[in-house]
Amino acid sequence: MIAITAENLGKRYGQRWALRHCALSVPAGRVVGLVGANGAGKTTLLHLGVGLLDATEGSITALGDRPGADTDQLARVGFVAQDAPVYPTLTVADHLRLGQRLNRHWDRDLAAGRIERLGLPLGQRAGKVSGGQRAQLALTIAMGKRPELLLLDEPVSSLDPLARREFLQDLMEVVAEYGPTVVLSSHLLSDVERVCDHLIVLADGHVRLDGAVDELLSTHKLLTGPRRATSSLPRDQRVIRVSHTDRQTTVLVHTTKPILDPRWSVSDIGLEELVLAYMSPTPRDRQTGELAAVHS
């Protein structure tokens, strides 16, 4: 089953396209790292996925339906916005009661248990707790509705390192137990490497990379060798990034075939290097004149 699809998806704010020509396909059960520079379109994509925004062109589906199509669809999708909004005048306990009243499949044990473990005072007004605690409260409410698809916009950015680790432990436990699809945007590549098995890289409003982490890492190779023009590379080796010194050439290529040319020394690439290569501006594809993008 496919959790999220997008075809030729675009969103325009006034004159500016925040996202354009985006194609996506995320299998259900994946934990997706959504990565990109500030302003690349991550938040816009998440808002389109939950139905807070409508697409200007193209289409997006979440769990096989138009996002926000009906109450049934809304019940299956959980979302936490970047600033982790809560009701400031309501207490922590009020939030749990609201969660129970407003959601059909409310997991009371999961939500109450998490609040207790985090040591959040039940009688405290949500507007008075610390930023980290507010984020944890918003996440607890989103997890408590036991969504099939959970969209999190920079969930750990306001948390200290310990709270961040605890949050990821909890999230992975929920994934192991109930198997929801999770999409989380983050700038913390070490977290992404730890918990994500699917990667989406956005740059300048375009999807540059969309695929299973294992597959992406095994189909990208770093070639180093004596200086030469990359136009001499075989057609199945797609150049992602190239740099030259006066004697040496280093090329990152995407290919599903083995590298046969003995002049190259071939090495694997780590997730962080891969993401950075796709986040940075690149030359247009030499065959099609388009920005290189990989969907696998």
Binding site: V31, Q169, D170, M172, V175, E193, R194
Partner: protein, 130 residues
């Protein structure tokens, strides 16, 4: 029961790190035939990694014949790597500890000790081959 840890700076894929840690524990006799490996849920709750990473590591251990899944029960160790040499470990460890104390007294720091061990180890391996 074994406790896993993940080193994000090692450059080794997380699932490989889990496999290596199980192998290491088998070699040192910390895990024995019949021992249960932690459940996927326990591992992810402990080290905050993707459940599929744990599944992949366990599949690899099964493929190597070191572990087997029992439906509804969990994954269990099926073979030890320590073998008959395990009995000798204790004495060797004592000798090694004595040697390490001697090396430190002689003024070697940790990196020098590791370098000396590695190069001597390599030489002896090469001698065995020759």
């Amino acid at each position: 029961m074994i406790e896993f840890h993940i080193d994000p700076r090692s450059g080794v894929a997380p699932y490989r790190q889990l496999v290596q840690q199980v192998r290491q524990a088998l070699r040192l006799g910390l895990l024995r035939e019949g021992d249960q490996l932690p459940t996927v849920k326990d591992v992810v709750a402990q080290v905050a990694i993707n459940p599929n990473t744990v599944l992949k590591a366990y599949r690899e251990l099964e493929h190597e014949g070191l572990a087997a899944g029992r439906p509804g029960l969990g994954t269990f160790v099926t073979r030890s790597l320590a073998g008959s040499s395990l009995a000798a470990h204790k004495g060797l460890r004592t000798d090694l500890a004595r040697w390490l104390t001697k090396a430190r007294r002689a003024g070697l720091d940790d990196d020098s000790i590791a370098a000396l061990f590695e190069s001597t180890f390599r030489d002896s391996v090469n001698e065995d081959i020759a």
